[in-house]
Structure formats: C-alpha cells, structure tokens
C-alpha cells in the first residue's frame, strides 16, 4: 500500500472535499471533524515516508493510471507516457512542513471563524487548498504542476475575500487572482515552448533531453519569474501587503504557506533545468539580487507601517529574501570548478532551506496572534492598540516567542538558520552578510514596536474574550515546535535538511 502514497496525498483531501457539501447539509460538527481527519491522514502518511525516503534515500515514482505504477517507462519506451508523480527528499521536506502547518492552522480556524452557513464553503475551499499544495509538491509533470498551481491560486483568492461585507477584502481577492492568473499564463507559455521542442511534459525526461537552445532559455525565464512573482520578490511584491492584511488570520498564514510552495517550485525548476541550459550562474546571481533587494526593501517598508497585518506582510517579503540569498549562493557556485560548493555552497543551501521551515513556523504563528489582536481591538491600527498583555498573558507570551524567533534571538529557531546563512554567505561575499545582519536588527526593531504598542501601556477598556481551547492549543503546539527546533537544530538538519539538499543539488 505504501507505493500508492504519492497519489493518496492528493486523492484523500479531494475525496473529503467533494463529499463535504453533502456532509455539511447533514451536520456541521461531522463536517469539521471529517475535514480535520483528512488533513491528519495525509500528515501521518507523510511521516510514514520519512523512514524510507530520508534515511534509505529511496525515491517514490508513481505513474497515475498505468498497470504497473512504479515502472518509469512502459512497453520498453524511452520516454514516459502518463502523468508521473515523484517524492524525493527535497519534496518530502516541504510535504511534511505543509501538512503539519495546514493541520495546525485548520485547528486554529475551526474555532476562530464564526460558525454559520458560510463555514461550510470555507472548509471545502480550505481542504481544496491543501490538496492543491500537495499536488504541486508531488507533481513531476509541468502541466500537472500548472493545474495544481491554479487550484491553489483560485481557492486561496476566494478565501482571501472571505469577509465580503467589509470594504477591502473583495478587492484584495481580485488583486491576488489578477496576479496569479498572469503568472500562470506566463508559466503556460514556458511549458508550450518546452513541449514544442521535446514533445513531453515530464521534468526528468526534459532534464535528460534538453540542450541549451534559445527557446529553452526563453522557456526557463518564463517558468521561473512567474513563480518568483508569486513568492513576493521585491520589485513585484506590492500585492502581498494588500492580500495578507485583508485576509482572515489563518488564511493569511495559509497563503504564506502557499507562496513557500511556489518557492519550492522555483527551486525545483531552477536546479533541474538551470545547469542543462548553462544558466545556473546567472540564475544564482538573480536569486542573490532578488534576496538582497527583498530583505532590505521589505524591512524598511515594514518599519514605518502603522497597520499590524501590513507590517507582518512586509516581513514575509523580507524573510523570503533570506531564503533566496541562501539558496542563490548555493546555486551560483554549484557549477564553479573549484570545491567552493563543497565548502560553503552546500551549507548556504542548508541554511536557506532550514530558514524556509523556520519561517513557515513563526510567520504562521505571528499571523495567528495578529488575528487575535485585531479581533480584540476591532481595528488594525497600532496607534489605537494598548495594553493587551494586562489581561491576555497567553497571547503576549506566544507573540513574544514568535517575535524573538523572527528576529533571530539565540535560543529560538530563527537564529539557527540565520547563523548558518551568515556563516556561509560570508565566504561568498562579506557585504551580503552585513546587509543580512542589519536587516535582522531592523526586524527586531519593528517587532519591538509592535509588542510595545499592542501589549504594553495602559490596560484596554474592555477585557479580552477568552480564546477557545483549539485556538490556544494550536498556538501552543507551534511555539513548542519553534523552541524545540531552536534548542536541538542538529537533529532536524541531519534528518531532513541535508538529504533534501543532496537531492536538490545532485546533477
């Protein structure tokens, strides 16, 4: 049964999503429970895979619909026929992150979103979003990646405009959909150019067959830049603050998770096709440039914000800069003759990928706490908020942990991955590390501002309402994971991150 896991990761959430409207008509609690059970099942499935994929270095291939699903080619052909799904160390790392976090955010949203008839559609779209993410992570076929990218964009843009009665959420959903559909059109143009020359969509087959013609170079640019736009890289990042600030709290963390999955697609395409089209050096420089720009511009714009969710959205942009910096250094030196990749390139990539995991954790927690703050004060303006810590000690503690983690304070996980990035990028070019450290200081400054103005000061007029049990439970779990990774980083790196980097960087 274990060989069917790649397809089950997508099929189980889809089955539950399709049956939810019928279940929702019958009874509401059963609907919430079945959706939660579906996400738990795929989480457990991804944990079962750790043993085979990460330790025994086995790669799961799966041809959907073929008599022998694990066979790569049928009837002695030299090219794949059906849709190929593939789970290797690199994608399993992201699958574990995506399933665990979407389960925790689901726990949060099941009691945070008010219980009414619309909650039925909210759960359906949430489970479809998780299925879209899973589909993108296991697709080894460019067109399947395109279809599941579209599923993720449409369901998250519908969820962003969930609060239709307010002034701005529908327009934020419109912007997100506008940006996503242009990105997918350009992505499709890249697929069309590759299909015109090699007649196939399979990534592994294209990697073998591709030679560096002009069309391949154009196709690579058309495949990479739309995904960079969806990750919120600086020059194209202005849609992120509008989208994250208007969405309900668990949805902005899920949309952030979705943009990290687009980052996975970006790395997957850059590393597999980059060296075959002899552009991996230029792509590495592009990633580093995007990284530095995102770090600096994101944090400076965040520092002067007075709207708490916009501030955190700009921080999401600047944190993506760290990851791009780490992996960009690895990509640019991967092809260079000397052993510099072995010295610091691989460590930079480890730092970059580790930062992806840490950032997903504490950024999700920050969005959740900001949701609670905004719900209590009925406004997102930091000037009006004061003194929540007097009554709601729990949220203050959780926010403190997450804010310290994002600004890289030693015992927590932000520090670990930033330290690795500083260490390895210093070998490449010391100026980049200086900028990275300066940006980290500015991050700490802006989160001190948020903590000072929202939690300290005079006690608020009315007492904050007690948060429901599941909301507190999911935030406690998130902060426990953050502190655990912060204290025991070696375990995570040895088990998950290093095999993922080996899988990504092998040619």
């Amino acid at each position: 049964m274990i060989k069917h896991v790649p397809v089950l990761l997508v099929a189980i959430p889809l089955v539950v999503a399709f049956m939810l409207p019928i279940i929702g008509m019958v009874n509401r609690t059963i609907r919430t429970i079945t959706a939660g059970v579906a996400i738990v099942i795929i989480m457990v499935l991804s944990y079962l895979l750790i043993q085979d994929v990460m330790i025994c270095k086995k790669i799961f291939y799966y041809m959907v619909g073929s008599p022998d699903p694990t066979a790569l080619f049928e009837h002695g052909l030299t090219f794949p026929i059906r849709i190929a799904l593939k789970i290797d160390q690199f994608s399993l790392l992201f699958i574990i992150m995506a399933t665990t976090l979407s389960f925790l955010f689901y726990l949060f949203s099941s009691q945070y979103i008010e219980e009414n008839e619309r909650k039925n559609y909210f759960t359906v779209l949430y489970v479809c979003m998780v299925a879209g993410m899973m589909g993108m992570l296991i697709a080894n076929d460019l067109f399947t990646f395109f279809v599941f990218l579209e599923i993720l964009s449409i369901s998250s843009s519908a969820l962003v405009s969930f609060r239709t009665e307010r002034k701005h959420p529908p327009y934020a959903g419109y912007k997100y959909m506008f940006v996503s559909s242009i990105a997918t059109s350009f992505f499709l143009l890249g697929i069309a150019f590759l299909y015109a020359q090699y007649g196939s969509f399979n990534i592994d087959y294209l990697k073998k067959v591709m030679d560096g013609t002009v069309l391949d170079k154009i196709a690579i640019v058309m495949l990479i830049l739309p995904l960079a736009m969806k990750c919120g890289v600086v020059p194209m990042h202005m849609w992120i603050p509008d989208t994250y600030s208007e969405a309900p709290a668990p949805i902005s963390s899920m949309v952030k998770l979705g943009s990290l999955i687009c980052l996975y697609g970006l790395f997957r395409i850059a590393f597999t096709f980059g060296s075959h089209v002899y552009v991996s050096y230029e792509l590495g420089i592009l990633f580093i440039l995007f990284g530095v720009l995102s770090m600096f511009v994101g944090v400076t714009q965040a520092l002067i914000q007075k709207d708490v969710k916009r501030l955190m959205a700009f921080h999401a942009v600047s944190q993506v800069g760290y990851m791009l910096l780490g992996v960009g250094v690895g990509l640019s030196v991967i092809k260079s003759g000397d052993a510099s990749f072995a010295i610091y390139g691989k460590i930079a990539m480890i730092g970059g990928l580790f930062h992806v995991i840490n950032n997903a954790l504490y950024k999700g927690l920050l969005f959740l706490t900001s949701g609670i703050m905004v719900r209590h004060y009925k406004t997102r303006d930091l000037n009006v908020m004061h003194g929540l810590a007097h009554y709601d000690k729990f949220t203050a503690l959780v926010f403190m942990i997450a804010a310290l983690a994002i600004s890289g304070i030693p015992p927590l996980n932000g520090f670990v991955s930033k330290l690795i990035i500083y260490e390895s990028v210093f070998h490449y070019n010391p100026l980049l590390t200086l900028i990275a450290i300066f940006v980290s200081v500015l991050t700490l400054a802006s989160f001190m501002k948020v903590f000072y103005s929202a939690f300290l000061g005079m006690p608020p007029e009315r007492k904050p309402v007690e948060q429901p049990i599941l909301v507190k439970f999911s935030m406690v779990i998130l902060s426990i994971i953050i502190v655990a990774i912060g204290l025991f980083p070696q375990g995570i790196i040895k088990l998950l991150i290093e095999p993922a980097v080996n899988a990504l960087a092998t040619f």
């Binding site: 069917h4 397809v7 099929a11 889809l14 089955v15 999503a17 399709f18 049956m19 939810l20 409207p21 019928i22 799966y62 041809m63 959907v64 619909g65 073929s66 008599p67 699903p69 009837h75 052909l77 794949p80 026929i81 059906r82 849709i83 008839e117 619309r118 559609y121 909210f122 359906v124 779209l125 479809c128 299925a131 879209g132 589909g135 067109f143 399947t144 279809v147 599941f148 579209e150 599923i151 449409i154 369901s155 519908a158 969820l159 405009s161 969930f162 239709t164 009665e165 529908p170 143009l189 150019f193 015109a196 020359q197 090699y198 007649g199 196939s200 013609t213 002009v214 069309l215 154009i218």
Partner: protein
C-alpha cells in the same frame, strides 16, 4: 514609468517572435507522421514511436478502447489533470456561492413598496415561453448526447456539461423564476458533489493496481468490448471507465455551471439598495 513598461512589452514581443522563428514550422510538429493503418492487430506498437503523441495515436484505441483519442487522453492517460480540472470547477462554484451568500440570505428581494410584479419584469408572451421550452429540450438532448458519446464522437464531460448549462441559462432568461432559488441551489449543489464523488470513486476503484486505472477496459464483460484497430463505426460499450468518468464529469459540470448561473441570476435580481 509608462514608457519603460511599453518598451518592456515590445522587448517581450520581440523575444517571443524570435522564439517562434526558432520553432518548428506550423505543419511539421516533432512527432513521426507514419501512416496509421499498417499495424499488427491487438499488439502495442512501439516501432518508430518517437514522442508521447505517436504512442497515443498508435495505441490509444487498443489500450483504452475508445475511438476518440483526445477523450482517451483526457480521461485515461492524463486522468489526473482532469481530476484537477474538476476540482478547479468545484472550487469556483463553492467560492461563488460563498461570496454571494450574504446577497441571497438578505430578504431585500422585495424592496419596500414596489409591488413584486413590477420589480421582476415577467415576460408574458407565449412565443418566448413556448419557444424556450422547445429549445430547452433540444439543447438538453444534444448536451446529453455529447456527454454519453464522449469516447466515440468528439465531445465528453466538459463540452456536454457546458452545453447543458447553456440550456439552463436559456431557461433562467426566458422564465425568470426567482421563487424557489434556495431549494434549487441545494439540489444542484448536492448533485454536483454526487457527480464528483462518482468520478473520484471510479479513480479509487482501481486503486488495487493504480489510481484511475482503467480496469473495465480490457475485455471485461460490461464495458470492455475490444474494438478493431483503424476506422470503425464506434461502439458505445467499448471504453472501460471512460463513459463513466465522462458521465460523472458531465453531471458535475452541468450542475456546477448552472449553480453559478442560478446564484448570479438570483444575486443580480436582488435590488442592492444597501
């Protein structure tokens, strides 16, 4: 700032144009256009097959048993994309009914003082109602034909479903029924989820060998008639789970699209005097 973007668009135009000049000329794609009729019977022919499309053209009929190679690709070889496709439509239908929920729940349909008749201009002329009724039957039967004959003639779940949905659009315009909207939307949503669960149930039915495996195709009694290679008059019961999948997608697309149309018609009828 606008000049820079205009220059950028012109540069992109130039690059795509250059890329196209490097592309193969229109009539000669990459594949091997070998003449199809000299082929060993009942075998999988991989001689001289260079790309994926040649394989589909030479073996699509034998492996899936359907005459329409495009339908065999949509539902059998690349069935996972079609599953994603049906999810996209399902997501849009549930998001439209989510977005317009407050519209339809609000009782402001009958705005104060305006009598109901004048508020919704009922078309009383016999010609339209009778003509629409005849047209409705014809379009619906054409849509069902397209869905059921998916694997024999051009057509399939999506096209048949969308033709039937245009029939509901005709019905909504000509009769302008707005009384039982709440109940019709519940029924449509139920059938749409039913169609989708049939689709993915078919996918799971073949999980013993692999997801979405065409277990009915090869010579089984019910839907597995083995058809001779080359042009043949086309047999309805020949393509394994293809007709079932096409039917499921047809149900889902028809009820999904008409649910979108009913919701939007109902919402546009609400005089938004908010």
């Amino acid at each position: 700032m606008r000049l820079i973007s205009v220059v950028a668009i012109v540069v992109i135009f130039g690059f795509i144009f250059v890329g196209i000049l490097h592309l193969h000329p229109i009539g000669e794609p990459v594949g091997n256009p070998r003449i199809l009729y000299e082929r060993p019977p009942l075998g999988i022919d991989t001689q001289g097959v260079t790309i994926m499309d040649d394989y589909f053209l030479r073996n699509g009929q034998v492996e899936t048993g359907s005459n329409n190679i495009v339908a065999s690709i949509v539902f059998d070889y690349r069935g996972f994309d079609t599953l994603g496709e049906a999810t996209v439509l399902f997501i849009v239908v549930s998001s439209i009914s989510m977005l317009f929920f407050t519209f339809l729940k609000s009782k402001s349909i009958v705005s104060a003082g305006v009598p109901r008749a004048r508020q919704f201009p009922r078309i009383e002329s016999r010609i339209i109602t009778f003509g629409a009724f005849l047209m409705y039957i014809m379009i619906l039967s054409f849509g069902i034909y397209l869905v059921v004959h998916g694997h024999v003639s051009p057509g399939g779940g999506f096209q048949g479903g969308s033709v039937m949905a245009s029939a509901t659009a005709l019905l909504l315009i000509s009769f302008y029924i707005t009384r039982h909207m709440q109940r019709t939307r519940k029924i449509f949503s139920f059938f749409e989820s039913l169609g989708l669960t049939i689709f993915i149930g078919m996918g799971f039915a073949g999980i013993g060998i692999s997801f979405l495996y065409n277990f009915l195709a090869h010579g089984t009694t019910v839907f597995g008639k083995i058809i001779p290679f080359g042009p043949n008059p086309g047999y309805l019961i020949s393509a394994g789970i293809l007709p079932w999948l096409s039917l499921a997608v047809g149900i889902e697309v028809f009820f999904g699209l008409s649910l979108i149309l009913v919701t939007l018609f109902h919402a546009s009828g609400v005089k938004n005097n908010l």
